[in-house]
């Protein structure tokens, strides 16, 4: 490029070159500058993904030779009741944690938005759970829900209510896990909603006030529609995160998912097959199914929340 500028005499010859090719070649510096990301993505992103997909059609114990087995892993997967159970658990846990998280986050965000004092302190307080170590938090929650010395049962006992073996009952396990996810993610989504709220022009609120709309009408007719893209973002992020729940149940109820394998999620099942049973091919097939599940849910969310806005 600099060459054409300093030597105009040669310019006509240059223009005879095919334009597309020239532009690609002459931008090599930019490609070079971009390349670190793509190289790292290639090595740590694309290659493992491609390798996992290949693995799903193979049998491999982690050390010996890999053997192509075609669709055998998927055949086992369809017959495997534990796999379907883990899939069901994952979806239930996702609903049990995401719905309360987003409702609480929205409520908190609206409250924080109208609060005048100590805004910064509240924001920090709500965000701290999100940056707390997951394992430490899970150990803490396991203690809170423990049968004889847990906080929840202590409160129930002091109110004269019957106590529960939370981490020994299939539903208790799910409640404990989803409570922890809500605790961890409500603050994060609050901050995102708050940012969205602050971007809504105040004129709309003023106009609504002049027209005589109360706070609830204002919220449902102005705030929520204006926040639609932000809500879509949080729902998609929660879906991707929620369908990959792993650490919370693993620390709270152990690698096998507790009573009735109620805490066994698909990612945990995948982890067990690969790293405990050394069945890497089968694990690859499970990983592929998680990918399809996330894709499916994201598509559903997109249709439900994003689609209407464009029409």
């Amino acid at each position: 490029m600099t060459l054409t500028a300093t030597a105009p005499a040669k310019a006509p010859r240059r223009t005879t070159k095919p334009g597309r090719r020239r532009s690609v070649l002459s931008f090599w510096r930019f490609y070079l500058a971009l390349s670190p990301f793509y190289l790292i993505f290639l090595v740590f992103g694309l290659y493992p993904v491609a390798s996992t997909i290949l693995l799903a059609f193979q049998k491999w114990d982690g050390l010996g030779p890999r053997k192509m087995v075609g669709l055998q892993n998927f055949g086992f997967l369809i017959e495997d009741s534990t796999f379907w159970l883990s899939l069901w658990n994952t979806v239930i846990l996702f609903v049990m944690s995401t719905v309360p998280t987003l409702v609480i986050a929205m409520t908190l965000a609206v409250m924080l938005h109208s609060a005048v004092r100590f805004k910064g302190i509240y924001r920090i307080a709500y965000f701290i759970p999100n940056i707390t170590s997951l394992v430490a938090a899970a150990i803490f929650f396991a203690a809170v829900f423990s049968t004889n010395f847990g906080l929840i049962n202590a409160v129930l006992r002091s109110l004269g209510l019957p106590t529960e073996d939370w981490l020994r009952q299939p539903w208790g396990i799910k409640i404990a896990i989803s409570t922890m996810i809500v605790w961890q993610w409500a603050g994060y989504n609050t901050i995102i909603y708050l940012a969205g709220l602050q971007a809504i022009p105040t004129e709309q609120y003023e106009a609504a006030k002049v027209d005589g709309a109360g706070p609830f009408r204002t919220f449902f007719l102005i705030t929520l529609p204006q926040l639609r893209p932000v809500v879509l973002f949080t729902v998609i992020m929660s879906t991707i995160g929620g369908l990959q729940t792993f650490t919370e149940p693993q620390v709270m109820v152990g690698n096998n998912g507790g009573t009735g394998q109620s805490g066994m999620t698909v990612v945990m099942y995948f982890y067990n097959q690969a790293f405990f049973n050394n069945d890497y091919g089968y694990a690859g097939a499970i990983a592929l199914s998680i990918f399809m599940l996330v894709l499916l849910f994201t598509a559903i969310n997109w249709k439900l929340l994003g689609g209407r806005g464009r029409q």
Partner: protein, 427 residues
């Protein structure tokens, strides 16, 4: 030089292909690529080897330049990844007891210690432990670092207050079998409704299976998990539930830790190293614990090995290091150092193991663990064993929680176990 999109993509694919080919070729030739001579790289996990013994061994072999790496986290996974990677493979590596069964099919990655003259020392170690590291065709992959013989840890004060004997010899006399043990539990609960003699029926089941001479899969790769030896263990665990002497307190949970000290978990059936967990949990009950033999005989939980990889530059020199490090004297030292329980019977007579333990009211624990270690039953453990055990423990948990009847849970567990086995070609 111009870097176009096309060359970039081509280059990327070439790199990817290169890695793939590199991986698969290293898989075939990795075992023949030798490490550089004159150095011995050794891997183990934190706390796997006694520190004084380790320092002493490194100093004892100055010419070998032993380079010890403490590998934290998921040790087996890191070892597998490194073996697959084909470089920086250690000469000597630790293998955990729970991983040894899954390593046996990979015998070609390790040196058969019998082929380099380990025969002379194998007799120094407990026979059943060496057998765990022996392949079906007789290759020995590892020398035992330690073992985990079980015993019955119990609260002397809770036992005597509940009308049971407190003295270890008398406890041993009365609690000979699990049935005796459960009967004692019923008696204890009558006078002390908060004390459950079985901490967790699922753990009890695991212990009974470990006491047996057969597990879920036999040597011919046949499923035997639906047979009497497993059903008996199952029924005993269910009996603990129906007699209401099951505390349903998962080992290691906050409830378990608190229960140990408060006397609501008055017994623990566990390996020698469980003593460390009990000691960590107990503040007020120091000196009130005792050790008695496991009802219905001893079992083993854990205990690891040192193995030599095929990549070792000088397997004979590596074996010399292992021989020194895991001699009876040094295993006794490692016990004094970090409670690593020796796999060499000769070590049980050493002063380090003969010491009385004030935590156990001045009792000498080796008097229980020593005889237990020598009479642990040998059972063939298939690589898939731990995976097949899962449906059974899950089924028991459902019985424990009152969600399923014993028979319904049993037939479901057997069906699930067979399904898992089928995936790996178990008949």
């Amino acid at each position: 030089m111009e870097l176009s999109r096309r060359t970039l993509i081509a280059g990327g694919f070439a790199a990817m292909l290169g890695t793939t080919v590199g991986c698969s070729s290293s898989m075939d030739t990795g075992s023949t690529k030798k490490n550089a001579g004159g150095n011995i790289a050794m891997w183990c996990w934190p706390g796997g080897l006694g520190k004084t013994v380790l320092d002493d061994t490194i100093a004892h072999f100055p010419d070998q330049h032993i380079k010890y790496s403490e590998v934290g986290g998921d040790f087996k996974q890191k070892l597998l990844t490194t073996l697959n990677g084909g470089t920086a493979i250690p000469d000597i590596t630790g293998i955990k007891g729970e991983d040894i069964a899954s390593m046996l099919p990979q015998a070609n990655r390790f040196v058969d210690l019998k082929s380099i003259g380990a025969d002379s020392i194998l007799g120094d170690y407990l026979e059943w432990k060496v057998k765990q590291a022996t392949t079906l065709d007789g290759k020995v992959l590892g020398i035992p670092i330690d073992i985990g013989p079980t015993a019955l840890f119990y609260r002397e004060d809770v036992f005597t207050a509940g009308g049971l004997p407190g003295d270890p010899a008398k406890v041993a006399g009365q609690l000979k079998t699990w049935d005796d043990f459960l009967a004692a539990g019923v008696e204890l609960k009558m006078s002390n409704p908060k004390a459950f003699i079985v901490a967790d029926a699922t753990d009890l089941y695991g212990t009974i299976v470990n006491q047996g001479t057969a597990r879920y899969i036999d040597k011919d790769n046949k499923f035997i998990g639906d047979q009497d030896h497993i059903r008996k263990a199952w029924d005993t665990a269910v009996k603990a539930v129906t007699l209401k002497v099951d505390g349903k307190t998962l080992g290691g949970s906050p409830d378990w830790n608190a229960g140990l000290d408060q006397g609501t978990v008055p017994t623990v059936t566990g390996a020698a190293w469980v003593a460390l967990d009990i000691k960590a949990a107990c503040k007020t009950s120091v000196g009130k614990w005792r050790v008695a033999p496991t009802p219905s005989g001893p079992a083993n939980f854990g205990g690891s090995f040192l193995a030599i990889t095929k990549n070792a530059a000088d397997p004979a020199a590596a074996l010399e290091v292992i021989k020194y490090m895991l001699s009876a004297d040094n295993e006794a030292k490692a016990f004094a150092d970090a409670q690593i329980f020796p796999a060499t019977p000769a070590a049980y007579d050493k002063p380090q193991l003969k010491a009385a333990d004030p935590f156990f009211g001045g009792q000498v624990p080796i008097e229980v663990f020593g005889p237990a270690a020598k009479s642990i039953p040998i059972a063939y453990e298939a690589p898939l064993d731990s995976a097949i055990a899962v449906p059974f423990t899950d089924g028991l948990k459902l019985v424990q929680a009152g969600k399923k009847s014993s028979d319904a849970a049993w037939s479901e567990a057997v069906a699930k176990a067979k399904q898992i086995g089928k995936r790996q070609g178990v008949q």
